[in-house]
């Protein structure tokens, strides 16, 4: 019995032996996904001659899975040894089936890795996106206006039930948080003004500043910010989830207008309630300020409200309330538009909800500045 020829390459996973009918590649161990990197290195170390016939022996294999089989075939294929030319021995029936399956699918072309966008492309892409977004919100505003005109002509279309549900959701349930926030803001403003006024012994003038600041700017802004974060986000998330679930399409397919059913009740409820919420915020803020005045500035509530009546004009309060329906309109339009723009995936709902809150707060502050500039004209 002659000694077998020494292996020319050996490894934990495979070895190459020169045999009488060309080279024999013997596989060992677990040819599985977990060992894929080691398998690649082991194969790369073997000096396989692509010109000679090759026998692949799987008798000593512990395990073979599709990733392992694919690596073997891909490596040999890369060397120029096509699968049909291989002689296979020692594989079980399942191993043979697996090799043939993988080899059959291997011939298909591979996917190219995803190309990154270049700088110029990125700019173009963003410009296009802003353009699309602008066009889309303008279209949405137009459609909402059209739906509203239709509602005025045919009041029967009005969805009273949804409207009252929204009144409760955006109005009644927001009252505690709006009052609390405004009350705290009243306290802070009275403190700040009080510190200055005390220096000049002009404590009672705190009333002038507080009255003006709260009713004209702070209460409307705070209320709008709270509503944007609370109801705006809720509108977008609700409508967005309905969109994902194809409920909006279902409404349309029933011959109903999603604008009549979903958008207008929310929009009208918000426009109606924003001034009322702001009025509540006015009262809470002034109460907060009055409390600080009486506890720290020696201005009794009686004096405070007497003074308030003298210096706070109805025009100022009305001006503060007047701009809130415009805030509400902006918030509701942005929120509903974002809800309707949700794509059919989960991530999109989150992105759109974030966009609603950010955009509505920006819109509210922009509108507020416009009103501040236009004040002399208006009053």
């Amino acid at each position: 019995m002659s000694a077998p020829p020494p292996p020319v390459g050996t490894d934990a996973f495979c070895s190459l032996d020169a045999g009488p009918e060309g080279a024999a590649l013997s596989l060992r161990g677990a040819w599985t996904l977990a060992n894929l990197a080691a398998l690649r290195d082991a194969l790369a170390r073997l000096p396989i001659d692509p010109g000679a016939p090759l026998t692949v022996d799987g008798a000593a294999l512990d395990a073979l899975d599709s990733a392992g089989a694919n690596r073997l075939i891909a490596h040999l294929d890369g060397l120029g040894l096509r699968f049909p030319r291989l002689r296979l021995s020692g594989f079980g029936a399942q191993g043979m089936a697996l090799l043939h399956l993988v080899a059959g699918r291997h011939a298909l072309p591979a996917t190219a890795p995803l190309a990154r966008r270049g700088f110029g492309q990125a700019i173009g892409w963003h410009v296009m996106r802003v353009g699309h977004a602008t066009l889309s919100i303008l279209t949405f505003i137009g459609q909402t206006g059209q739906a509203f005109a239709q509602l005025l002509r045919r009041p029967g279309l009005f969805r009273a039930r949804e409207f009252f549900v929204q009144l409760e959701m955006v109005g009644l349930r927001a009252v505690p948080i709006v009052m609390l926030m405004s009350y705290l803001i009243g306290i802070v403003i009275a403190y700040l003004l009080g510190l200055q006024a005390k220096k000049y012994g002009a404590n009672v003038f705190v009333v002038d500043g507080v009255g003006l600041a709260i009713t004209r700017e702070l209460a409307p802004l705070m209320t709008a910010v709270i509503v944007a974060g609370r109801s705006g986000a809720a509108f977008t998330a609700h409508l967005g989830a309905m969109k994902v679930n194809q409920e909006i399409d279902a409404i349309a397919s029933l011959g109903l207008s999603p604008w009549q059913v979903l958008v207008l009740p929310r929009l009208l409820a918000l426009v109606l309630l924003m001034p009322l919420l702001t009025a509540v915020a006015d009262i809470a803020g002034i109460l907060g300020a009055a409390q600080v005045a009486s506890l720290h500035l020696g201005v009794t509530p009686h004096t405070f409200f007497d003074r308030l009546q003298d210096v706070l004009s109805t025009d100022t309060v009305l001006f503060g309330l007047m701009k809130t329906p415009v805030f509400a309109l902006a918030i509701a339009l942005i929120a509903c538009h974002n809800g309707f723009s949700v794509a059919r995936d989960a991530r999109s709902v989150g992105l759109r909800t974030t966009a609603t809150v950010v955009r509505s707060i920006v819109a509210v502050i922009l509108i507020d500045s416009a009103f501040a500039v236009a004040y002399p004209e208006l009053m």
């Binding site: 996904l33 599709s66 694919n70 089936a97 291997h106 995936d345 989960a346 991530r347």
Partner: protein, 249 residues
Amino acid sequence: MSDRPIVEATNVRTRLGGRWVHDGVSFALRRGEITALIGGSGTGKTVLLRELVGLERPTEGRVSLFGEDLASISGQRLNALRRRFGLLFQDGALFSAMSVAENVAAPVVEHLSLPDDLLCEVVNLKLNLVGLPLDAARRRPSELSGGMRKRAALARALALEPELLFLDEPTSGLDPLGAREFDHTLRVLVDSLGLTVLLTTHDLDTLYDLVDRVIVLHEGKVIGDGPLKEVARSQHEWIRSYFDTRMTG
């Protein structure tokens, strides 16, 4: 090792919404079998599947996977077991924020650290195995048709080379041609990868084409268990009407 059942449910009882959905369900799956779980809507097929993979717990009874009792093993051990089986959800449950290729790569990236080129090779292989056109790889799941979503989900379920596959309604929502094609793909994969499969289905053609064994759930109990031909011959009223309605059609 081959004689021990890899999935075993022993006297499983589940109470949901004030009613016993499963009232003593027992069966065992042996290696290499394709088993279908059938039953009317609301008989708790999906719930049973979720219990078998450890997403839910039965109210009473024992469920074991690969010989380990799910009720008594640690979360870490359960996660190790989870690498050994794949699960195909009814609607695919592909991650919507990722492309199809990233979805298939996700389990591999989480559990193994492969260099990029090998990862790409594995993803391509799985997409090829399930017969997904390669231009689909870069697309988001929301841009695919129902059939392609199922295939992508199957590719993800196969990503970690599982021994065991759970499929919840694999052919629902597919057209008959697409469903047969999917069945064929599954058959080829099962035979050559040596998989054990448990699937729930309402699709009789799947039963005839694909399945080695049928388990029938009815009113919380197993009323039939065996090869399709045997089960179809059963005299049980529900089984008879189930097969009659379709066979005459």
